[in-house]
């Protein structure tokens, strides 16, 4: 079973919940698909068996000794990346989308495309199985492609080690890396929080999630911060036909566990929050095997 944890809104507790799931017993493959801001490795200290370079994309670079400043590239670029400044063609690295169009139409072949090769994918072992994660170099594009690479590696490792569960820690938002994370998974867990923003973002990410599987469940984290709002979220989910998997209380010990490099279920297994997370995970595993 491949299960993805996502949230829409950032910081609702996706990684803390994923870390707890990943350390509850059954050996598994955990894959950090939040390649923009990978964090789970901080708790799991995986031993790297492999490191692979990920080519995120390309950036156009001008050779000024060949450029005649004809301006054709500037007029065709649809990403506003090319400008003539004081008689010189300047290509903005941050705006360039890497489409190759300018390099193909330059009459003097003054533009070359340079590969972005600073992003990495790692895989190795951690204390409860295998871990795969990607780290996108700052400012790089095509994070969805790196997510796909991480997921392929996770599947390969799972087959090799005979592990049947793959747990994906997803990125926030609803765009490309999220869609890459949930495409083809068996189950999606959305972690939300009882705030207006949490609910607004939940609605958007839920719409995306439901395109990919009918097995979408919701966890309301820090539910006791605003029980009335949690009830509202509960009602909305029920009306959508998505199960509320559980409500977790706000508990400072989750952060204390993170500081200690542990999941909450490892550090404080007998707390209410740990027990609820354990029940949710056991149910997800049982349902997944049916």
């Amino acid at each position: 079973m491949e299960l993805a944890v996502i949230s829409g809104k950032g910081g609702t507790g996706k990684s803390s919940v994923t870390a707890a799931f990943a350390t509850l017993g059954e050996k598994l493959v955990v894959a950090d698909c939040d390649v923009d801001a990978a964090n789970l490795y901080l708790l799991f200290n995986p031993e790297h068996d492999t490191e692979q370079v990920y080519i995120g994309g390309h950036k156009a670079v001008v050779d000024h000794s060949l450029c005649t400043v004809c301006g054709i590239c500037e007029s065709y670029c649809r990403f506003d990346a090319i400008r003539e400044v004081e008689g010189k063609i300047i290509i903005s690295e941050t705006s360039c989308d890497g489409c190759f169009f300018c390099s193909r139409i330059c009459p003097t072949d003054a533009i070359t495309m340079v590969r972005s090769d600073k992003s990495r994918m790692y895989s190795g072992t951690f204390r409860n199985g295998m871990m795969v994660y990607g780290r996108l170099a700052p400012g790089e594009e095509n994070s969805g492609k790196l997510v796909s690479m991480v997921r392929d590696e996770a599947k390969r490792v799972a087959a090799e080690k005979g592990m049947s569960t793959i747990l994906l820690d997803g990125p926030p938002g609803i765009g490309c890396p999220v869609i890459s994370t949930v495409t083809g998974v068996d189950r999606i867990v959305i972690v939300t929080e009882p705030t207006m923003s949490g609910l607004a973002d939940l609605k958007r990410v839920h719409e995306v999630a439901c395109k990919f599987t009918s097995e979408v469940g919701v966890i309301i984290n820090k539910a006791d911060l605003n029980e009335a709002m949690a009830d509202r979220i509960d009602g909305w989910c029920t009306a959508q036909g998505s199960a509320i998997l559980g409500r977790l209380p706000f508990d400072r010990r989750v952060t204390e566990a993170m500081v200690a490099g542990k999941s909450i279920t490892e550090m404080h297994p007998d707390t209410e929050i740990s027990k609820t997370i354990t029940d949710i995970w056991n149910k997800l595993l049982t349902d997944g095997k049916e």
Binding site: G8, G11, A37, C99, F101, I105, G139, P172, G175, E193
Partner: protein, 288 residues
Amino acid sequence: MKIAVASGKGGTGKTFVATNLFNVLSGRGERVTLVDCDADAPDDLLFFPAEKISETEVTHQVPVINKDACTWCGRCSNWCNYNAIFYVPTAKVIEVIENLCHGCGACSFACNSDAITEKPVVLGTVTSFRTDRGYPLVEARLRVNEMSPVRVIKAAIKEAGEDGVVILDSPPGTSCPFIQTVDRADYVLLVTEPTPFGLSDLRQSVETLRTMNKQCGVIINRADIGDSGVKNYLREEQIPLLGVINYGTDIARSYSEGRLITEESEIMTGFFAGIADKIISEHGTGSN
């Protein structure tokens, strides 16, 4: 001047800081605009009673291939760097996969037989609002199931213009949506939390901003829940710490209900006013 409120990690309090800064400045009658650049998850509007002024759809051009005119030369497919043209000449199959298309226009230029025309596809919307106090709020909103918010974010920042102080509430992460937002900022206010996750993402944001030569300062939110890692890092790297906000159930509750703490607490109003004044006096362009 443009101030981007950003953070690598999600959920550290960007929107909380951006909306309250905007509220404090508009409460004082200063010229200020708030731009919600978190197009994946735009929430700023939840905090202000506002009237919609205008709405623009942000589109890009995707190819439409006329099979009758196609000579099966394959140039369009070769020129496409996004694998968005599925091409099997032997079976006379050529299809555009619109989800993969970035709208660069290379294929229609590449086509030798005028078989490619283009049509607009909506990526999202930029909506201008006026708050009940009469201040502009611009929202970038990615359409659900679209891949990239970058064009929508750029259009929203352009729509906001240059008048007075423009606050950009940034998307999380450090990849293209973040870069597009902070690229246009004169100053970046980073909001973090004092945890290992917060520190790791803060470090990545700072390193990215340094390569872009951007000035930045930091607010530590929920400062009393975590460890000293972030403070030590800021000291070592000589990054200005502009303020700390301790966790409070009153703050959490007011935020959860879509209210502004600067409407409820004089201390917090003074806190945000102090931060705004410091940034504007030290980094303002002076022209405004």
